[in-house]
């Protein structure tokens, strides 16, 4: 009792073997069914996410949000999907048709791949591989591939520029993300997500708050969500890489983004918030699933909170922030954590996590001190005139011209 998923799987395995299938065939059929069940499960969540996203945005912007179809507008996403499905399928001129059609798949399937390794409950996990953390990084490769395919095949300069920006951002932010992923790996001494969750008697966010923060920031950048959504800066690039997509093809990118945001919530909660662990989860695995989704949705809500609170940052700020701020910090944290972990083996977990927390606070304090010292150096630069793109042969702008322009307007 308390574990319906395993119960049904066991029962169905018995049924299959009763039909005379041998062990290999049963394994193949069971794995196929597992794939379909997980995909169906997360896609249904995805439909619901459209509603959550719209409703939460509306609340952040002091609106009500969808409220006409069904109670609290719950049927709204279904109407959205019907609309997306019956929209005209437009092919722009000069596109690379095969790649153009292939790209939306790459917008969605890597996100589904992520869900294969996340432990939803003690017993429910798609595939409990021993390199799960590295696997999560590998799925990111396919996402950036899909974006660059969409941008290139659309035969649209805005789409291509958007794809370039997005992919540059994704490869850059992958560096601090991977390094901060290593810190739970060091603490758990395993890359297996189920093992990492299992060993979190104390949540790792207690021992590694800075790593958790860096992981969250770089994950938001990987998602391409505000404040890192320069790839689709409406005033410059209209919609970025998916500008030429209509109907369900656009819907695939959109669904992929939403599901990816929840997947980031799931990864974060598995790595730092104890995953499915909670009251009663050990004896009733189904309660573990409940705790897991509570935590995942909380992180998803934080991501939305950030998205609708902060303004978009410029591309140079985005790259500087990554290479000159997040990457060095994450490297320092990694080294400190590795050394402390070796020194603290054998001590009781409370001492271990206390020392880790103190080390993190110390690093954070040093960062703040350094930032405050450097802000004085950076301040005059803001007022310097920025280089302006001008046609060839145009006379140089005399000094003080910018002030006259502002006075005219």
């Amino acid at each position: 009792m308390g574990d319906p998923v395993t119960l049904i799987a066991k029962w169905f395995e018995g049924v299959l073997q009763g039909w005379g299938l041998n062990e290999d065939a049963t394994l193949v059929v069971m794995n196929l069914i597992g794939v379909i069940v997980i995909i169906a499960f997360v896609m249904i969540i995805d439909i619901f996410l459209v509603w959550v996203e719209r409703k939460v945005v509306a609340r952040f912007q002091d609106r009500i949000g969808p409220n006409r179809l069904g109670p609290f507008g719950l049927i709204q996403p279904v109407a959205d999907i019907i609309k997306l499905l019956i929209k005209e399928n437009i092919y722009p001129k000069g596109i690379d048709r095969f790649i153009y059609n292939l790209a939306p798949l790459f917008g969605l399937f890597p996100v589904l791949l992520i869900w294969a390794v996340i432990p939803l409950s003690p017993t429910t996990i798609g595939s409990d591989i021993n390199v799960a953390v590295l696997y999560l990084v590998a799925t990111g490769a396919f996402i950036s591939l899909g974006i660059i395919m969409a941008g290139w095949a659309s035969n649209n300069k805005y789409a291509l520029l958007g794809a370039f920006r997005e992919v540059a951002q994704m490869i850059s932010y992958e560096v601090p993300m991977v390094i901060s992923l290593l810190i739970p790996v060091i603490m758990a001494r395993s890359m297996q997500l189920s093992q990492i969750v299992q060993s979190q008697n104390i949540w790792y966010i207690v021992g590694a708050p800075l790593a958790a923060l860096i992981f969250l920031i770089s994950s938001i950048a990987e998602l391409g969500r505000a404040p890192f959504d320069i790839a689709e800066g409406e005033s410059e690039l209209i919609a970025g890489f998916h500008i030429e997509y209509t109907g369900m093809k656009f819907g695939m990118f959109y669904a992929g983004e939403l599901l990816h945001a929840l997947a980031v919530g799931g990864i974060f909660s598995s790595l730092f918030l104890g995953g499915w662990r909670g009251i009663g989860a050990e004896s009733f695995p189904i309660i573990g699933m409940f705790w897991f989704f509570i935590k995942a949705y909380f992180i998803y809500w934080v991501i939305m909170w950030v998205k609708y609170t902060f303004p978009r940052i410029r591309i140079d700020e985005m790259l500087n922030f990554n290479w000159k701020f997040l990457t060095p910090i994450s490297l320092v944290i990694l080294m400190v954590t590795a050394v402390l972990d070796k020194l603290m083996t054998g001590y009781p977990p409370l001492v271990y996590f206390g020392v880790m927390l103190v080390a993190n606070l110390l690093i954070g304090w040093i960062i703040v001190v350094l930032l405050r010292r450097n802000v004085k150096v950076e301040a005059p630069k803001v007022a310097e005139p920025r280089p302006i793109a001008r046609p060839d042969g145009a006379p140089p702008v005399p000094a003080g011209a910018s002030s006259s322009i502002t006075s005219q307007s």
Binding site: D24, D96, A138, G140, F142, S144, I148, L160, F164
Partner: protein, 169 residues
């Protein structure tokens, strides 16, 4: 045939077909995308050989970094993607003979090897290949010195790249 063998044959056919398309397709971006399919096929082979770490590393490094870098370079180079010249020159027969010789030679050597006919040993349940790999790389009795030399080489290359790109004011 076991399901694993069926998967192997399907993936092998796809990988070989994609490999041929890499050298034969006229559009360079298409060639790069076919190359990604080849690299992914090799990652699947690693999975079949139950080397999950290598499969993930293959995808991260080759598809996530190198292939994306290649696509970037192709896209940033003007008109290189629309080359309409001849796809081979007059020496094609020499290359064909050479590659055929190489293929037969390799096949002959492999067919004489004893491990060619024997079935693979099942992996020990208790052994964690990832842990063994890590210990092999950094244990003093393992490959510590080559590993450290490779790290120093990579750091030197990194610093060299920064020095080349450094804009002195």
């Amino acid at each position: 045939m076991t399901p694993l063998q069926i998967i192997f044959i399907i993936v092998a056919v796809i990988t070989l077909f994609a490999a041929i398309k890499v050298v034969s397709s006229r559009n360079l971006v298409h060639a790069a995308l076919w190359l990604i399919l080849v690299l992914f096929g090799i990652a699947v082979f690693f999975v079949i050989l139950s080397a999950g770490f290598f499969a993930a590393a293959q995808v991260v490094i080759y598809i996530g970094a190198i292939a994306i870098l290649m696509i970037f370079t192709i896209m940033l180079t003007r008109r290189v993607a629309r080359d309409s010249g001849a796809q081979h020159n007059s020496n094609w027969w020499a290359a064909a003979v050479l590659s055929l010789l190489l293929f037969t030679g390799l096949s002959w050597i492999l067919s004489r090897w004893q491990g060619f006919q024997s079935t693979a040993q099942p992996m020990l349940e208790s052994a964690d290949p990832l842990r063994q790999l890590g210990e092999g790389l950094v244990a003093p009795g393992g490959y510590l010195i080559p590993f450290e030399v490779a790290s120093i080489l990579l750091v030197a290359a990194l610093i060299g790249a920064i020095t080349v790109a450094w804009e002195r004011k």
